[in-house]
Symmetry: C2
Subunit: 209 residues, 2 copies
C-alpha cells in the first residue's frame, strides 16, 4: 500500500500501482526509496515484452528453483548437478552456510568434493537454532560410510565459528574426520593492514616450509 515508502510518493499524484512498484523494489535488500524509484521508472521505460519477461522470470525462478534433496543447494532438478555428477570425490563434504559460498568455493577450482548448504548459521540472537538450518540433513548423509571427511567452511565470524563447533561435535562420534578451513592472511593482501585477530590466527596456523 502507498505510505510504507515515506515521503516521495504519498501525494497521490502518481498512479497507485506505480507507488506499489516502488515499494516492491524498495523491499529488496540494499535498495532505498530513491533507487527503487529509479528502478520503477526504468521498468516503465521497458517495452511491453521486456517488462513481461522480467515478471515471468521472477515467477519461473521462484517456481523452478528448489533445494537439492541431498546437499540442499539450489537447483532446478531433484538432485543438483554436483551431487549427481560422476567426477566428484564423494568421500568429502564441504559444509557452507549459503549457496553463494558454493559459488566462491567452485571459483577457486581447488575443491572437487561434495557440498552441504546449511542455509544459515546458528544464531541465538536471531533465534536461529540447529533445527532451523540443514544440520539434520547433513548428519543423515553421513550414515552410509562413504564419507571420510567433513570440511567446515562456515564464515570465520562468531556465528560461523559456533556453528562449525556445534556440528563438529555431532560428527566426531561417528568416526568421521572434521576439519576447519584455515584462517590467515588473504593472498595478495598486506601484513601492515591485516587486523590483529587475523595475524594471531595466521601465526597460530603457521606451517613448516
Amino acid at each position: 500500500m502507498p505510505g510504507t515508502v515515506p515521503g516521495l510518493f504519498d501525494m497521490s499524484i502518481f498512479p497507485v500501482v506505480l507507488d506499489k512498484l516502488v515499494e516492491k523494489f524498495a523491499s529488496l535488500p540494499g535498495v532505498g526509496t530513491k533507487s527503487a524509484q529509479r528502478m520503477a521508472f526504468f521498468v516503465l521505460s521497458l517495452s511491453d515484452s521486456e517488462a513481461a519477461d522480467f515478471a515471468s522470470t521472477i515467477i519461473e525462478a521462484k517456481r523452478g528453483v528448489k533445494k537439492c534433496t541431498v546437499c540442499q543447494n539450489l537447483t532446478d532438478t531433484e538432485v543438483c548437478r554436483i551431487c549427481s555428477g560422476d567426477r566428484r570425490n564423494r568421500s568429502v563434504i564441504c559444509v557452507v552456510a549459503d549457496p553463494k559460498d558454493v559459488i566462491a568455493m567452485e571459483r577457486s577450482k581447488e575443491y572437487n568434493g561434495l557440498y552441504h548448504v546449511l542455509h544459515g548459521v546458528i544464531s541465538p540472537i536471531n533465534r536461529v537454532g540447529p533445527d532451523d538450518i540443514a544440520v539434520r540433513e547433513l548428519i543423515s548423509r553421513l550414515g552410509g560410510g562413504e564419507v571420510s571427511e567433513v570440511i567446515m567452511a562456515t564464515n570465520p565470524d562468531t556465528e560461523g565459528e559456533a556453528t562449525a563447533m556445534y556440528i563438529s561435535r555431532l560428527i566426531k562420534p561417528l568416526g568421521i574426520k572434521v576439519t576447519r578451513i584455515a584462517y590467515g592472511i588473504p593472498v595478495g593482501s598486506n601484513l601492515e593492514f591485516t587486523d590483529d585477530a587475523t595475524i594471531f590466527k595466521a601465526l597460530e596456523g603457521r606451517r613448516e616450509m
Copy 2:
C-alpha cells in the same frame, strides 16, 4: 542467457533461470552483479504469493501507467489528477523535464498551478531534439488564452538551460509570460561550500530586502 553477467554464475552449478533472474536485476539502473545476486536470492526467499505479487506489480504498472493526454505526466487515468482537479490555478504551467521533478515541486507545497512534463531535455550529444520531447504538446496547450505564465523549471545545467531557452523563444511570440526558476544558495547550506557559479548566480539574482 547465462554469460552476460560475468564471473559469478557462469559455472552452471546453478539453475539457468536463477542466472536469468540475476541478469534481470543487474539490468536495473545502479545495480551491480553482486547486488543483483542478493536480490535474486531475496526473491527466492519470498513466499509464492509474495513473488507472484512482485511479478504482477511489474505487469500492472507497465500496463496501467500512461501519460496524461494534457500534461504528459504519468497517470493511470486519461487525464491526470492534477490536470483534472478543480483546485488548481489553471493560468500557470510549470515545465519540468521529468515526472520526478513534479514530485519535488509538489513536495514544496508552494506551487498550485499546472505542470507540463517534457520527458527529457534537448541534448544534441544524446541525439535528443525538440521533437523527441513533449514540446509540441506544450505549445498546443497555450492556444486557448487561459494560460498567462509558463515557468521553466528544467534543471540548472547546460541541457536544462538550453531547453528552457529554446522553449521560451517559442512561447514569447504568443504573448505569454515565460519565467525561469531562481538560481541561488540552497536553503540550509553554507556559503563556504557553495560553488562559484552558484554564488555568481545568487549575487546576480539578489533582491531588495
